[in-house]
Symmetry: C2
Subunit: 321 residues, 2 copies
Amino acid sequence: MHSFKELIQLFEEKFAAILPFPQVPDSLYEPCRYFLQIGGKRIRPVLCLMGNELFGEIGEDAWHAATGIELFHNFTLIHDDIMDKAPLRRGKATIHERNGLTAGILCGDVMSIYSYDRLANIKTSLPQILHLFNKTAIEVCEGQQLDMDFEQRDDVSIADYIHMITNKTSVLLACSLKMGALLGGATDGNANKLYEFGKNMGIAFQLQDDYLDAFGATEKLGKQNGGDIKANKKTYLLLKAREGANVAQQQLIKDWLCHDGEEKVSAMLQLFKDTGADKACREAVERYSEMAFNCLEEVAVVSKRKAPLNELAAYLLQRDK
Amino acid sequence: MHSFKELIQLFEEKFAAILPFPQVPDSLYEPCRYFLQIGGKRIRPVLCLMGNELFGEIGEDAWHAATGIELFHNFTLIHDDIMDKAPLRRGKATIHERNGLTAGILCGDVMSIYSYDRLANIKTSLPQILHLFNKTAIEVCEGQQLDMDFEQRDDVSIADYIHMITNKTSVLLACSLKMGALLGGATDGNANKLYEFGKNMGIAFQLQDDYLDAFGATEKLGKQNGGDIKANKKTYLLLKAREGANVAQQQLIKDWLCHDGEEKVSAMLQLFKDTGADKACREAVERYSEMAFNCLEEVAVVSKRKAPLNELAAYLLQRDK
């Protein structure tokens, strides 16, 4: 069994070894290499490997899956950055900012194909694995579309929001675990429990991210405090504040959404508190975390094999478990 | 055996039947449906079906491949239109023009995943088929990148140009034929001959397209005569004219590239003639066509089974064969 940190290290080595993109055309592959080496936490491939190791030694198929999943995730980031008009990713220039729109689109496209080419090496139940992956990939696109749509909509409910973040973020975490598990010979029952574990953990993580963006310490990597507030992002906090606001608070929220600057951040933080949105958000994080850990509990494998997954979830959800 | 026209008809029916994208999110799938119904010649799926029927009855796998290939082709068109800043495709608004950049990017992305989900249904030699498809898809991206790069370069050779159009256009035609053939049980030898047939036919077709854009009749679908000249596109004709030009003609070409308008078109057409580029282009079309038909000739199947492929090639290359 490997720890979370060992698996990251092993993955980085494998990923670097199998991924020397061709040299030509340099205008296509140089930005791809650049983007992959600016890092990332490699959570998804590590989940895939952990899902696999839960049932035995990590096999070749799990490595193919893990590398394919990480390429796919980076493809979505490259395209999301274009849609979000983001100049930076992890503190570094995004591809479309650094190399132009064409490079941004094409590097994403070619990376998604390389992702599928990794998956095509899988020897076990390839059609089943591909359908699971495709279903997930489609949901990720749908989630991103919903996220974009929500920017223009004023009737987004909490349920809509949970549905969006589930698709945009959580299902790929869930799929990573399930693919690893299936490739390790897990029963459908266990594989599905792991899927639910990953999905709920992803939702909890995203809600926590919303919370920390508003109330977390300012020294968070590459992010300024209240970034979501400044951008009028429809986070769980804003949606919940609107839901719980009285008429006067509704008006205040509406007014502040038309303003900019530091004053806006502190005013909105106060409104999140006054409406109970902050508490509701913390409770939702707790609720989804509990569901996640309960699902993991139900996976029919001796507890000590689950230690790395428990450790990873506790790290992501900032809990001592 | 089916004729070219029959196969188009059969494909359209099958394609419409299997492709009711989900209703939600409408902002994602409505543009996808729109784009697929504005048409196209469906050459690639028909080549796949013909490659399959060359060796027996058309099988289910060939239908999966044909529909997957057509989805992939449309995905590339949607993204190419963004990169080319094209407002129209087949006389209709492009997705990014009609629904915005985000929809253009995401509809392309999701369509490429649906394409892979069609392919995942293939029962015969799935890993081999996927690797062939992925290799081709990567080449298509590389070809598009080269096409974009060429716009900024002044040192593009004829060999560079042939390499670019081979990747951007021809390999997908070739791959379609080869996939159909392999799924029909063809030997590697026959499948590779068909690949070469498709590749050379594709190159000949693209060079003919360059020629017709300059010298063809003006009533061509959705295109005005001399469109490439007006856009300073580095076609075979322009590259060859530069190559064959004397010092005075070099200067004339350089000057005209800085101008706009109808006068430019007639001046460049004259320069294409004076430098012998027009003749060289016609000869190149002929040369690649010959190579294509020779490859088809060498496929070890009784001649009459090749009739539909001969018919299709003759139609595309405007020959009586």
